[in-house]
């Protein structure tokens, strides 16, 4: 059995560790979902049933509620189908002008102007379902001829009925995202299935202009902000701030700047860090084999210097101990040791890059990171146990003495 309050704290810490792990797992799973979805076939943005690659399958999607056409649409569908039949007959004439001439006649308020939509229109009108099969083959051919016509950058497609088989086309309709070269992409489409996969066409993507502008502005502003920081330390603003803080301190009537609990903890943490760094250096020096007298002397000097520093750190700890016999902590959760890396005064956010060259390398990196985190957690748990015990021993010793 562990001593009572010692174990309570340990259990609390373990629960906390479990919660933290669970949180990380949740975040990871979210990222995994997103990534998996990206690597699959991309669905059109209308969030309908997954794209059907094969014609016959479109019949099943007839009754999807999102694309129930109204009577107006049905009429227009009728018109469109008529026009398509004519287009099939005129298929041999593949002039762009011919296609464009047809396009305006098909224009209507709520309807697709793009002949490219013909691929899916047969499936919309339930009444037309029968003609689906007959339209299927011709529409394939039409797609070939209408590909050049799709060079128009802005197409208004009804949001309810966006069943673009050529997933690429769907994106052309929304403001912003577009393909670098629609012709290139689309001419490749007729042969391959109409769906979009990252593997095949990922290198054709292009970020929207608005986004690119915002992103570059963002990095520019951050750069400006981080460069504005060091200037602060030399000018009147810094002096004004220091003066204000001093006035706050004196106005409070309390004697001198008292080290807050957080600051004491931070300092203790720093001294612990110092200890491990010193130890590391000591090991390095002791393990190095000096080849000549200069190296030997240097080693000696270093060791003596380390010893002096250790003494100073110890002295500082004793000072802290004397100042703060009991360190009042804020009510609430116990805080962790301050992180070894740079704190808040460093660059707030700078776009630093990490280059990796293979999947293997990335996996090693990630696995090591988690291992280090896990070890760190274990070390923390051991320290918790130890601190409780040592503290109790000391208190018992004091009260008894």
């Amino acid at each position: 059995m562990l001593p009572a309050d010692c174990s309570r704290r340990l259990v609390a810490e373990l629960q906390g560790a479990l919660d933290a792990c669970a949180e990380r797992q949740l975040q990871l799973e979210q990222s995994l979902r997103v990534s998996r979805r990206l690597l699959r076939t991309w669905e059109p943005a209308g969030t309908l049933a997954p794209e059907a690659r094969l014609e016959p399958e479109t019949k099943e999607e007839d009754h999807s509620p999102a694309c129930t056409p109204g009577p107006q649409d049905l009429k227009e569908l009728e018109l469109l189908t008529q026009a398509l039949k004519k287009a099939v007959l005129a298929r041999k004439v593949t002039s762009k002008a011919g296609e464009r001439a047809k396009a305006p006649s098909l224009k209507s308020g709520s309807f697709a102007t793009s002949p490219g939509m013909t691929a899916s229109t047969p499936s919309w009108a339930p009444g037309q379902a029968g003609s689906c099969a007959s339209e299927a083959k011709p529409t394939r051919g039409i797609r070939q001829t209408t590909v050049p016509a799709k060079g128009h950058p802005e197409r208004r497609l009804p949001s309810a009925g966006n069943r673009a088989r050529v997933g690429v086309g769907a994106r052309a309709t929304r403001p912003g995202p577009g393909l670098r070269d629609q012709h290139v992409a689309l001419s490749a489409a007729p042969e391959a299935p109409e769906s979009f996969t990252l593997k095949e066409k990922g290198s054709l993507l292009q970020l929207p202009t608005a986004f690119r502008k915002a992103a570059s502005q963002n990095s520019r502003l951050w750069a400006q902000l981080t460069s504005a920081q060091p200037r602060d330390s030399t000018n009147a603003t810094a002096a004004a701030k220091t003066y204000f803080l001093q006035q706050m301190q004196t106005a409070s009537g309390r004697p001198g700047p008292v080290l807050s609990a957080a600051e004491v903890e931070a300092e203790v943490g720093r001294l612990q860090e110092a200890c491990s760094l010193l130890r590391l250096h000591m090991k390095e020096e002791l393990s190095a084999a000096p080849t000549d007298w200069t190296q030997e002397y240097r080693c000696l000097l270093t060791l003596e210097g380390l010893q002096a520093i250790a003494g100073q750190c110890l002295h500082r700890l004793q000072e802290l101990h004397a100042e703060q016999p009991v360190a009042p902590c804020p009510v609430g959760r116990p805080s962790r040791a301050p992180p070894p890396c740079g704190g808040g005064a460093g660059p707030f956010w700078s776009p630093q890059l990490l280059l990796y060259s293979s999947t293997q390398e990335l996996q090693t990196l990630a696995a090591l990171r988690l291992r280090v985190a896990m070890l760190d957690q274990q070390v923390h748990l051991e320290k918790v146990l130890l601190e409780q015990e040592v503290g109790r021993l000391l208190l018992n010793g004091r009260t008894a003495g």
């Binding site: 609390a12 203790v268 990335l362 040592v390």
Partner: protein, 426 residues
Amino acid sequence: MGRRRRLVDPAAEAGAGALPKVIAALSRSLPAGPSPEIFRRAKFDRPEAAPALWQLLFRLLSPRSADGASASLALEAQVCLVKSALRSQGYPRLVLAQLPEDGSRGSRELLLALSWLLARGPLPEQLLAQAHVQLGDEIPVCECEALASPGPRVPHVEAEGPVDIRCVQWLMGRLRFRWRCLIASQQEQCTLLSKIHLYTRGCHSDQRLGHLSVAETEMLRDPEGGQQLLRRLERENTGLEAALEWRRGELVFWRWMDTVLGACPPEAPAAATQPTFLPRIAERGLGRLELAARELRALQEELCEATGRRRAAWEARVGGQGRGPQWSSARQALQKAVEQELAALRWAWEQDRGPARPHGPHRLVRCEDEAPGGQHLRAAEVIQALRSQEACLEAALRRLQGQCRQELARLAGALPGLIWILPPRC
């Protein structure tokens, strides 16, 4: 009362319009920033300005991860948390602690507290960095973020009396299992990321990056989500511009704050009530200090022994040789070199920084060429650093486990034959 319409501030040399502009910029750069009118009313300690300032302070001081839950906290709870957070940061004025819990009064004091926080650190920038929109696939190369996150919130199970060791062992088993799952999921994520980076090669307008990140690709896949991302980015840009404007003009604000402080009645140096401490925490505070002291003492002893030996060996060796002029100049050079090294070492921990350890989140970029890209971090370097960290931690863990065993033996009292065996840790 008629002066309410105008700002009367002799310190605003740059013109009466400068101060409200600067305050407005400050407000825009902070999350949930109140209007400049609130600030002005706070100078005159108007009660109606108090709740907005309490809420602002709460927003600034609460841990960022608690955002969703904390927004719904009642004002009283927010007041409580703000008070305790300020106390733990060392806020010097006692008036704050004495303000009523319902958040109805004290706007001037709150204004002073806000300024105190602003003076001590670059608060708007830190908050903006925390809420920064991630465009790339970022991976932190150190564990700062994880460490900074809050520890156990509320003990789920307040065990009455001693806890069975088996319960602890079970919890630890669960923890180990969760870590294993985490590592497995992480490996899969790495594979997927790598593929996405590979497939989108050549798309990015920024040549350094070369390929898209998950966020960017997702934006192309889902234009609605992309619009949201764009809006968030634009909001962040607005905040950044406001922060820059604030930095340019903040001197006016500080001069004004001096007048605000001057308008306060002097604090009576009454006997401050000692903040109550829980014995458990005091124990821990003592424990930490003592532990650190013990470690340093042990280190000092080892160093003493090592230097003693080396010094003796050195004296024995050198004593026989003569001391010439080139010897003393060489010696001085060595001394200087060593001093510099040790100074750099001191600076390392005094500046809260490890020996050039990579820090912060980095954007992952897949780049196969072996070009010596100096300014960018390479995965191989990070892996090396992590391996050495791993070794250090393993050594530290073994040492601590040994110490733990010793302490438990001591606690167990005068039962010399009893050996405490801790549950195994992998």
